[in-house]
């Protein structure tokens, strides 16, 4: 009778493994994906499918090259999540090669070359995104006007790069805001800025991601700290400026429900690997992302800012962690930074 001899604990939480966590994240993006598809057509869906294929392919290739058990590591679904988040952030007008470059870069350079899951200091999806944004600014900022979704066949044509996309493209609320900031008359004349409660169409996309995010919190996949931090940070800085000059500065609600705000707050900034890990650290991490998003949106050269903000804060995460250790039981105070 060979008895198993292992270290305690001898039991672990059922159905609690990394793969399951990641699958929950995937499920939680469903409302957002649906909203994007409803507003902008099948482009995003195509992007997602293709990105996932590329990501899994690259991951498998590199796992094999690194001599790892391919199917075991693929089952953590982390590559799928990376691809999904990247594709959700990209314009629905993206051609396949754009997706290919971004996803491959995210998986190979930003993740596997750093040692795979758990070792990457930066959010891989955002690394891919920023690479594309810098290299292909035109393709990356070409969105479709809401509710003017191209038909499936058109979407496929766009995806394959066989149609002139310009026929479909239109400005996003953030673009519009940037263009007309300070011009009260123009601002009031832009229907895209006046949706149900925020930018036209985008408020629903963001609401959908908010819904998915709340689901993740409910399932305890993520804690409230980072999303709350991001939203609070964004609001906290947008509110006073808007009160100060509502013509030049957009209102907080607009910011919260525009661009990748909710996607970023609930799905991207919460990537545990590259975020801060202590409770207070996460709050700070999130809040600073929120502030950076507003700063870059308002004063920067790019229409949206989530990717930059997240990457910048990824850089700061280890430091934040270092200064926000919790006070351990039986200790008078927490270790702070380099003290001791």
């Amino acid at each position: 009778m060979a008895l198993i001899t292992v270290s305690s604990p001898h039991t672990t939480k059922k159905g609690n493994h990394t793969g399951a966590f990641m699958r929950q994240v995937i499920y939680a993006t469903a409302p957002g994906l649906a909203a994007l598809t409803w507003l902008f057509g099948y482009g995003t869906l195509l992007n997602v499918c293709f990105a996932v294929l590329v990501a899994v392919g690259c991951e498998a290739l590199f796992l094999r090259a690194r001599g790892r058990d391919v199917s075991f590591y693929l089952s953590d679904f982390s590559a799928v999540v990376t691809a999904l988040l990247l594709a959700l952030a990209m314009p629905p007008t993206s051609p396949w090669w754009l997706i290919l470059i971004g996803t491959a870069f995210a998986i190979i350079i930003a993740k596997q070359l750093y040692g795979g899951l758990g070792m990457n200091p930066f959010n891989p999806a955002m690394v891919g995104y920023v690479l594309l944004l810098i290299s292909f600014p035109v393709e990356m900022t070409r969105w479709i006007a809401p509710h003017e979704a191209p038909a499936l066949s058109d979407s496929i044509q766009i995806f394959l790069g066989q149609t002139n996309v310009d026929a479909f493209s239109g400005a996003t609320p953030l673009d519009t805001m940037r263009t007309w900031a300070g011009n009260a008359e123009q601002l009031s004349n832009q229907p895209i800025l006046h949706g149900a409660f925020a930018g036209e169409g985008w408020e629903w996309v963001n609401a959908a991601f908010l819904l998915g995010g709340l689901y993740l919190m409910w399932r305890r996949i993520i804690t409230w700290h980072i999303p709350a931090g991001v939203l609070a940070g964004l609001t906290a800085i947008a509110l006073p400026f808007w009160l100060f000059d509502s013509v030049r500065f957009a209102d907080p609600l607009f910011h919260l429900f525009s661009g990748a705000a909710m996607l970023g707050a609930f799905f991207i900034a919460t990537d545990p690997v590259s975020a801060a890990t202590s409770r207070n650290g996460r709050l700070i991490f999130g809040a600073l992302i929120g502030v950076l998003v507003w700063v870059i949106r308002t004063f920067g050269g790019y229409p949206d800012a989530m990717a930059f903000a997240v990457l910048l804060m990824n850089l700061a995460a280890p430091t934040i962690d270092y200064y926000t250790q919790p006070r351990t039981y039986g200790h008078k105070a927490a270790h702070r930074g380099a003290s001791k």
Partner: protein, 863 residues
């Protein structure tokens, strides 16, 4: 059911915690039962935390139930008793309840089935006994914490004097899944538990007594509430959450206080005991029964008949499983303890011990093989549940990379190994295993450091002691020499010796001070060599005192004839030293009083004695000052004067010779004159020398009756010293004569070869020298014989020195032999210790040998 679960008290919360499936109903339903006697009872000598007990029975001995078979070994240790009557069939290594799976010494008893008890001595009126009597009884009954850790209960109950206990906590939380032993115990024996708690109350005198029970044990709560009716024992219901039953967590739950990191609950006025221990205390005191059995939950999927069993300690797990209907083919893993913190057994031969609260015979379905470890995704789930509020993911990272320093910075050592983090980790990382490993590494590091430190301290202390001893001996010898010299020659020049003595004394007192410092440090660290160190300190103090006394004696013995100012100076500095020591002591007393240290009284006594010393030192200075005035230069002494004259004359002669030579070389015309002057001077010197010799011969006779101011050393000692001096002189003159003989022989030969005409004169000269040399030789021999006889007669000093040398020699040889033997056993730690011991002995032997040699030399007895 809801009403009794409500509390009247505020319950605090602790961070984190988890809710694993409870799995308690399998075993909680049936009453406690017992099982048949096993073939053999295996009693590990180490069922508790601390030093293993020492067996006091032999193989073949008949033992009675409850008879002590192994005695506690040191403070943190408890005895072992025979759980039933029978025969000791073996004492030796056997697999035991240790996660390492290593064998350890056990006493194995074959029961005779008669269950004959040894005589028991109940203490019925325990509230009339002093707590120390009861604590001794608890210790003698072999009671060690029955909740899991197994810390000797008596040690926990022996509170430091003056400790005020606010809360006595009884841990009946039983938060681990599967375990229901305490639950059943409370349901069935609540009265007895309460009686045990009353004893505990008597011992620690708490302001309040709280029994913490998780709300998933409604029957137990009811039973305990019933039993506690009319007492001041409060039953407090805590919400079910793992690990509420951890001592630190329970304290936080019930009192809101936290045990300081690295501290013990008593520091915050809390004593925490398991209810099983309380019951055992009740049995030990009111029935006189030692701890020989306990309630163990035997459960798991692989058993058809799980439940709670009252098990005799030493019963092999296998026997319990067989009695509970184990299905061998289903058995996948056997856990001793709960599923969260227990450990797997590699064999079911392992006996049940005092800490065994549960045995889980799990099927592979129930507790499957752990899933493969995935990378940490830093999700932070672990940090969410950690009851110690650590960052397990960081600890994991640093443990994995063996970055122990960082791991400790993240408070690795505060991890209670509860396993909550590993339970929730989505990546199936066996986090606790990593922490255990890292903690082990840290402990090894610390232990090594400690060992090195201890060895160094021991070595240094020893070294200092030996040096001081040697210096002291030297000082004593010099003092004697000085005293006798002074007496013999009537010449007072003790200042050098006094100086040496003073140096020795200073050295001794600085060694003493260093030792005191070391002792204090050790006390602060609670090191276990405090007793040793304090003994050392005492020894050094005695030595320093005696050295000081020697200085004083020498000073007063010198009676300040030659250089009283130096002595006065010495006295003054001694006095200053004494008073500053006194001041320091006073300060120490004050500090100690402020800190509430318990050695205040001791320190104060020390300070008092220092003050007395300082006073005497001051008085001595006063006396010396008074004595200085009349102490003028001693009466002119012919020998000394002659010596001086001889010295002057011979140096004048030397100068003259030199001048003459120079003059000759430079062809000066007064060379001849100079030469004759030199010759004259030489003649003067020679006469003076002759006079001196005569005077010296006369001196002993002259000085012996002359009373000197020195409180003399014993007369025969003077004699010895005198003889020694004489011997020395004789030796030198003999050597000189020998040389002269050789020279004149050579001159004679040359003369013979050259056919010189004064051959006869030369020959006569040779003869003369030869005669002189022989005479010197004879005299020397006589003296040596005398000295030897003298030593034989009186010779305490040499004899003890010889003995000491011989003793250290043989000790060294013995140690070396031991070391050689130990080398075979490859017990590295022991070998290292032996090496150190050997080195120390070697040094000691060397010192003894040297001392002997120098003593012999001093007596002029070498070869």
């Amino acid at each position: 059911m809801n009403a009794p679960l409500r509390n009247s008290r505020k319950i605090f919360d602790f961070h984190g915690g988890i809710h694993p499936p409870e799995n308690k109903t399998q075993s909680s339903g049936q009453p406690i039962r017992s099982v048949s006697l096993p073939e053999e009872l295996v009693l590990p000598l180490n069922m508790h935390i601390g030093a293993p007990a020492k067996p006091i029975v032999n193989v073949g001995d008949q033992v009675l139930k409850g008879q002590k078979i192994a005695d506690a070994n040191g403070m943190v240790s408890v005895p072992v008793h025979a759980p039933t009557s029978g025969t000791v069939v073996a004492i030796g290594p056997h697999p035991i309840q240790h996660p390492s799976g290593l064998d350890a010494p056990c006493i194995i008893i074959k029961p005779d089935g008669e269950e004959r008890w040894t005589a028991l001595h109940p203490i019925t009126d325990w509230h009339k006994c002093s707590p120390s009597v009861l604590i001794t009884r608890i210790r003698e009954a072999g009671i060690a914490g029955m909740g899991g850790a197994g810390f000797p209960t008596a040690v926990k109950m022996s509170l430091k004097e003056g400790t005020k206990i606010q809360q006595l906590l009884l841990n009946a939380v039983e938060c681990e899944p599967y375990i229901t032993a305490d639950d059943r115990l409370m349901r069935e024996r609540a009265d007895e538990i309460v009686r045990g708690i009353k004893i505990l109350q008597y011992l620690v005198k708490p302001a309040e007594t709280l029994v913490g029970i998780e709300d998933n044990k409604p029957y137990a709560i009811e039973a305990m509430r019933g039993a506690a009716q009319g007492t001041d024992i409060q039953i407090v219901v805590v919400p079910t959450k793992y690990p509420s039953g951890g001592e630190k967590q329970l304290i936080q739950l019930l009192t809101g206080k936290e045990v300081p990191s690295g501290g013990i609950p008593a520091q915050i006025g809390v004593v925490c005991q398991n209810i099983g221990s309380a019951l055992a205390m009740h049995r030990a005191i009111e029935f006189g029964e030692p701890l020989i059995s306990r309630i163990t939950t035997v459960t798991g999927d692989a058993l058809s008949n799980p439940g709670n069993i009252e098990v005799l300690l030493g019963t092999p797990v296998k026997h319990l499983l067989n009695e509970s209907g184990v299905k061998e083919n289903r058995l996948g893993r056997v856990v001793m303890g709960g599923p969260m913190m227990g450990f797997t057994l590699h064999t079911t031969n392992i006996p049940v011990v005092k800490t065994t609260n549960c045995i889980i015979a799990a099927s592979t379905n129930e507790l499957p093989e752990p899933a493969p470890e995935q990378p940490c995704i830093r999700c932070g789930s672990c940090a969410e549940v950690c009851p110690a509020d650590l960052l397990p993911q960081q600890l994991y990272w640093y443990s994995k990379t063996s970055d122990l320093e960082r791991a400790q910075q993240y408070n690795l050592m505060d991890c209670i190994e509860c396993g909550a983090c590993a339970y929730v980790c989505p990546s199936n990382i066996p986090l606790v295993q990593y922490y255990r490993f890292a903690k082990g590494e840290v402990r090894t590091q610390v232990a090594e450091q400690q060992k090195a430190d201890n060895a160094r301290l021991r070595f240094e202390a020893r070294q200092a002691r030996l040096e001081k001893e040697a210096a002291e001996k030297d000082a004593r010898r010099k003092a004697r020499l000085a005293a006798s010299k002074q007496k013999a020659a009537g010449v007072a020049a003790p200042s050098v010796d006094v100086k040496a003595l003073k140096a020795a004394s200073l050295e001794a007192s600085s060694a003493y001070k260093a030792a005191v410092k070391e002792l204090k440090a050790a006390q602060a660290d609670d090191a276990n060599n405090v007793a040793e160190l304090s003994a050392k300190v005492d020894a050094l103090k005695a030595k320093a005192d005696s050295a000081k006394a020697a200085v004083r004696d020498a000073n007063s013995g010198a009676a300040a004839p030659a250089a009283p100012s130096v002595d006065l100076k010495a006295l003054k500095s001694a006095s200053l030293e004494a008073s500053s020591a006194y001041k320091a002591a006073v300060k120490a007393v004050k500090a100690a009083e402020q800190n509430g240290d318990d050695n205040v009284a001791e320190l104060r006594a020390q300070a008092d004695s220092l003050k007395a010393k300082a006073d005497t030192a001051k008085a001595a200075v006063r006396d010396a000052n008074a004595g200085t005035a009349p102490a003028t230069v001693a009466a002119a002494d012919p020998v000394a004067e002659l010596k001086k004259a001889v010295g002057e004359a011979s140096s004048a002669y030397k100068a003259a010779v030199k001048a003459a030579k120079e003059a000759e070389e430079s062809g000066a015309e007064d060379a001849a004159a100079l030469r004759s002057q030199a010759d004259q001077l030489k003649a003067t010197a020679d006469t003076l020398k002759a006079q001196l010799r005569d005077a010296k011969d006369a001196a002993p006779a002259a000085t012996a009756p002359a009373p000197t101011s020195a409180p003399a050393a014993a007369p025969e000692k003077d004699h010895t010293a005198e003889r020694a001096a004489k011997m020395k002189a004789l030796k030198t003159s003999y050597n000189m004569l020998n040389k002269m003989l050789k020279d004149s022989n050579a001159a004679l030969e040359r003369a013979e070869r050259e056919g010189s005409d004064n051959l006869d004169a030369q020959r006569a000269r040779v003869e003369d020298v030869k005669r002189q040399a022989d005479a010197a030789r004879n005299e020397l021999n006589d003296l040596v014989d005398q000295a030897k006889a003298g030593i034989r007669a009186s010779g305490s000093d040499l004899k003890t020195m010889k003995l000491e040398a011989a003793r250290t020699e043989s000790a060294l040889r013995k140690k070396m032999k031991e070391l050689d033997e130990m080398k075979k056993s490859a017990d590295e730690e022991r070998i290292n210790v032996l090496y150190q011991e050997r080195d120390l002995l070697k040094r000691e032997a060397d010192i003894a040998a040297n001392a002997l040699k120098s003593a012999l030399e001093e007596q002029g007895l070498t070869e």
